[in-house]
């Protein structure tokens, strides 16, 4: 566990202790201790068209102790709460995996483990985030440093000045917690933010100093961007009014990454308030691009059954109902092919930097 400067926040700790009180009060009244946990699923998510983001509904699920199906989860929830409050008291941050190890032990007089895999403890932490309305960073849990940033901006991290224009082609590794208390944006002179799905394409752009020529911030999340990357993009968008463009593969997963950046994810709908960037634009790869940029058919990949099923799901999401989007997705389904960003290298190694993006930006060829 890394020691970081953290301002102690008694509120979260109180909420955690509240769980213990819940058990104690229920026990005194001879009631079954029960907590209500908001449901994190599509059924409890609504798309707020006015705000342009996903919002979590108020459907809740009861988690009771004296119910055979839930007893273990209840016990696990209390254990995780205990571990989290320990973090609060010790003023430490930690990872999801360390929480798993911290709370794992074999229950006395049995050979049952409190947790068998991390898959059991991770959702419980998310449950607590939602039900206590505490952000993950407020719970002192950080995710992996999942992204990189490079561009004309200066950050302050732990008192260090980080000039993202002077970090070579590797850039700055975006921490999972980028709230102003942890990371401050001291200066930013960029004109826009380009969020790239893949690290390889980000490397290409960084190596070619694309950001210098077009005066932009290059961000990547290596796949589905982690919270830190999303939050940082949102802050740049909000605090410096920078437009955000998203560059992803042309497949249903790429579309969904864009939609997560734009409206928020179903699982973390409660976070979209501070993560979503409703004005983010989809710059590519569009299903219209192969024709427009004369990509040969042989660099496409046949859509598999999963791709097709996922694309059809997307078609039904409320936030993909705009005619342009319906056309985009249907065009991909009709062609039966998906294209990776990497496929642009078929024309030239620097095609992305020198031809594709310049033309896109010039023609303002993007989807909203």
């Amino acid at each position: 566990m890394a020691k970081t400067k953290i301002t102690r926040n008694g509120a979260v700790e109180k909420k955690l202790i509240g769980l213990a009180d819940l058990v104690i009060t229920a026990a005194q009244r001879a009631k079954d201790p029960t907590m209500a946990i908001p449901i994190r699923a599509l059924s409890n998510v609504t798309f707020n068209e006015r705000k342009g983001l996903l919002e979590m509904g108020d459907k809740k699920q009861a988690r009771s102790f004296f119910n055979v199906g839930m007893a273990k989860k209840f016990m696990q929830t209390i254990l995780v709460a205990d571990a989290l409050s320990e973090l609060q008291r010790a003023e430490l941050t930690t990872s999801l995996r360390e929480i798993y190890y911290r709370t794992k032990h074999t229950i006395q007089d049995s050979h049952e483990n409190t947790f068998d895999t991390q898959d059991e403890s991770d959702p419980i932490i998310e449950d607590l985030e939602v039900s206590l309305t505490a952000l993950r960073e407020e719970l002192h849990v950080r995710a992996e440093n999942g992204g990189s940033i490079v561009g004309p901006l200066v950050l302050g991290d732990d008192g260090d000045r980080v000039d993202c224009a002077k970090l070579g082609k590797g850039g700055y590794s975006v921490p999972s917690i980028v709230e102003p208390e942890y990371v401050e944006i001291r200066r930013c002179t960029a004109d826009f933010v380009l969020l790239v799905e893949k690290g390889t394409q980000w490397n290409r752009l960084s190596e070619d100093k694309f950001w210098r020529r077009y005066n932009c911030v290059l961000l990547t999340g290596n796949g589905q961007p982690p919270r830190g990357v999303r939050r940082l993009a949102r802050r740049l968008h909000e605090e410096y009014k920078l437009p955000v463009y998203v560059l992803v593969d042309n497949d249903p997963w790429g579309y969904y990454i864009y939609s997560v950046v734009k409206q928020g994810s179903i699982n973390l709908a409660f976070e979209s308030q501070r993560m979503a960037i409703p004005k983010a634009k989809f710059i590519g790869l569009s299903s219209a691009d192969p024709e427009r940029y004369e990509l040969p058919r042989n660099v496409g990949i046949k859509l598999n059954e999963k791709d097709i099923a996922r694309a059809k799901e997307l078609l039904n999401y409320q936030w993909f109902q705009k005619p342009a989007w319906q056309a985009e997705i249907k065009r991909m389904l009709a062609s039966g092919l998906k294209y990776e960003l990497d496929a642009l290298a078929n024309k030239d190694f620097q095609y992305l930097t020198k031809k594709y993006l310049p033309r896109k930006l010039k023609e303002k060829d993007w989807l909203d």
Binding site: I17, A20, Q28, A30, F65, V68, K72, I78, H111
Partner: protein, 679 residues
């Protein structure tokens, strides 16, 4: 046996291509009859002597089958001793059992003995015996077995078969050494004298053969093991070549009812057979012949059939041949005739199967089903199935104590073993060609998943389980002379499947009940376990200032009220089907579903293993206390606390309903179905 017939016109001396071509005359000179013994000398694999290991088993098997058949036919509870000894070759010292290549197989029974004149022919003439010409259920069928074993011994070791037989305490014991004249298929007597013998009655056969002794699948040990399961009325002593003595005690003290001999059923004969019967008939008229030489043909029916076939009922049977006979044959096959009588069959019976399984296999659940008789090709048969499920409690507890905390990705050892199928035909275990056997195929074709047993596609069900299948018939349709697999007639397949399903249903019920008890137990258990965790965590959350004992007590109170409190405690009682109560989890019962479990007295008398005794005492008390008015015959074998678990509503009703047909109808078997429907 067929002789080679050369194509008539092929050989001509003038043919330049083959200098060695022979004339038909020369060939004719070479053509001669082949003796049956010569034929089998060359084709010994047809009789089960393919390799030394199997040959040893076949010798034991033939001798034991004969001994049991003889005892049962004479109404004697069989006492059989099997001894295997290593024989040294030449002057060298005897090798160890696993290295030895020559053995002496000695089988002694307490049967009726054999009269002196018959001894040589029984043991040294192929196709000589009492069983071939009659339709009566017995282990042996053709009269090949024991003489073939003798012939094999003679062939591989040159030693004669040695027989001692005595027909009663007052009769002298005769000692014979015989060999077979393979050309003439006649016995050669080497030695014949009266001797002193310590047995008052019985027969002893000793054959020296080349063989290999190896334990495991399809071994002599397995054969005797399985024989003892299906023949719990037999007391079997086995002296292994390693010098051990194993005793299989008698678990069932009643002889199986002696099967009656029947005449052939018209549906079961082929045209040629009909012709021969017509020729051989002693009757004067055709209708008389039909009604007296076949079963289920009344004189009226015989006349009707004659009329329908347009033959005079008064015709001499001998004169009916050619097309008339063929019409008659087809008419007979088309006539509706009652199924053959079934008193020619002697099923093992559910009680006996249960005691056999219980005696030999350690498990938690046993059940057995005898189907009503059915008919294939005019031959009556009965299918019986049984099932032993689970692991003996001692096997379960051991690993439990050693368990360490599990690391990620580790799992508790699951039972990945597959079920074992043991197959019998007329009480004889079938050890080879499992996958060709109708019984095995029926086990595969049964959807065990319906009964809570996992089964992958086209495979045996998984789990600690032994599946027992027995076919009893006057003529068991084997796929070959070595009697290893049952042929798959539709009727047989159907009956086996029905029997297996019934077993499966009962097992499913048992598993569900046990699962229910276990989950209730687990419920209690998890709350208790988790309360500890939750209270400790709350205490830490509250900064260690919590009165933990109080909170724990409060939560435990809620827990016990939620799980039914004391009532559940009682229901759970000693069941302990949950992980904590393993020592008490011996549920060795058919659970009130079928009431046909061995009478407890029989069990107590004969169950040798001392570890079982305490439970037996428990069993014996149960029927007395709970069902006062009735005899403890055929009552569910209730183990200790098992009663408490079976107590919930289903079982008492079942018992009463199933007891009625039991009291009224046949003593053994069959009345299981009334209860079966309920599930």
């Amino acid at each position: 046996m067929a002789t080679h017939k050369p194509p008539a016109s092929t050989s001509k001396k003038t043919d330049p291509r083959s200098a060695s071509a022979v004339t038909a005359v020369e060939m004719g000179a070479r053509q001669r009859e082949i003796s049956i013994s010569e034929f089998f000398t060359k084709n010994r694999h047809l009789l089960g002597f393919d390799n030394p290991r199997k040959a040893l088993l076949t010798c034991v098997k033939e001798a034991v089958d004969n001994a049991l058949d003889a005892c049962e036919e004479a109404g004697i509870l069989p006492d059989v001793t099997v001894q295997l000894e290593v024989v040294a070759i030449g002057s060298s010292a005897a090798p160890s059992a696993s290295q030895a290549t020559r053995f002496r197989v000695t089988v002694v029974d307490n049967g009726p003995g054999i009269v002196r004149q018959q001894i040589p022919r029984i043991f040294a003439k192929l196709l000589y015996g009492s069983k071939f010409h009659r339709l009566r259920m017995s282990r042996g069928q053709q009269g090949i077995g024991i003489s073939a074993a003798g012939m094999y011994g003679q062939l591989t070791t040159g030693k004669p078969v040695k027989i001692i037989s005595r027909t009663g305490p007052k009769a002298p014991a005769h000692y014979f050494e015989v060999q077979i004249d393979t050309k003439k298929n006649e016995p050669l007597i080497h030695e014949n004298k009266q001797i002193e013998w310590d047995q008052p009655r019985g027969t002893q056969v000793a054959i020296e053969v080349e063989g290999r002794y190896q334990k495991g699948r399809a071994s002599v040990d397995e054969y005797l093991d399985q024989t003892s399961i299906a023949n719990p009325h037999v007391r079997l002593i086995y002296r292994t070549p390693e010098g051990e003595t194993k005793e299989y005690p008698r678990a069932y003290h009643e002889l199986p009812p002696s099967p009656k001999e029947i005449k052939p059923h018209p549906y079961g004969i082929e045209f040629g057979m009909l012709l021969r019967m017509l020729q051989d008939s002693k009757s004067q008229t055709l209708s008389d012949c039909l009604s007296s030489d076949f079963c289920r043909v009344t004189p009226v029916l015989a006349e009707e059939m004659c009329k329908a076939a347009k033959v005079s009922p008064k015709a001499k049977p001998r004169d009916v041949r050619g097309p008339i006979a063929e019409t008659l044959y087809h008419t007979i096959q088309a006539t509706k005739i009652m199924a053959p009588p079934t008193n020619c069959l002697s099923p093992i019976g559910e009680k006996a199967i249960l005691s056999g399984l219980y005696k030999q296999i350690k498990g938690e659940f046993y059940t057995a089903v005898s189907r009503p008789p059915s008919v294939y090709r005019g031959n009556p048969f009965i299918i019986e199935a049984g099932l032993a499920f689970g692991q003996a409690p001692d096997r379960v507890t051991k690993p439990d104590k050693l368990t360490q905390p599990l690391a990620e990705g580790e799992q508790e050892e699951g039972g990945s073993e597959l079920a074992r199928v043991i197959r019998y035909a007329n009480r004889v275990p079938l050890l080879y060609q499992q996958s060709a056997c109708a019984a095995f195929k029926a086990v595969l074709a049964t959807t065990w998943r319906n009964y809570g047993i996992s089964q992958s596609r086209g495979a045996l069900p998984a789990g600690p389980m032994v599946i027992f299948v027995h076919i009893a018939s006057v003529w068991v349709p084997f796929t070959s002379e070595s009697k290893e697999a049952i042929a798959e007639y539709d009727e047989i397949h159907k009956e086996i499947t029905l029997a297996l399903r019934e077993c499966g249903r009962r097992l499913g019920l048992f598993l569900r009940r046990r699962e229910r008890a276990a989950s209730e137990f687990r419920r209690r258990n998890i709350f208790e376990l988790y309360i500890e965790e939750v209270v400790e965590a709350c205490n830490r959350l509250k900064g260690g200032k919590l009165p933990t004992a109080k909170l724990k007590a409060q939560l435990q109170k809620i827990a016990s009220s939620r799980t039914g409190g004391i009532k559940t405690d009682e229901t759970l009682g000693k069941t302990g089907a949950g992980p904590e109560g393993l020592p008490h989890s011996i549920i060795v019962t058919a659970e009130g579903i079928d009431g046909d479990v061995p009478p407890t007295t029989d069990l107590t008398d004969s169950l040798a293993p001392p570890s079982d005794v305490p439970e037996e005492i428990g069993i014996r008390e149960k029927p007395d206390s709970s069902k006062s008015g009735r005899k403890p015959v055929g009552k569910t074998r209730l183990m200790k606390k098992e009663n408490s678990q079976a107590a919930p509503p289903p079982s008492p009703q079942k018992k009463t309903s199933s007891s009625r047909p039991q009291a009224g109808s046949a003593k053994r078997g069959r009345k299981v179905r009334p209860t079966g429907k309920k599930q």
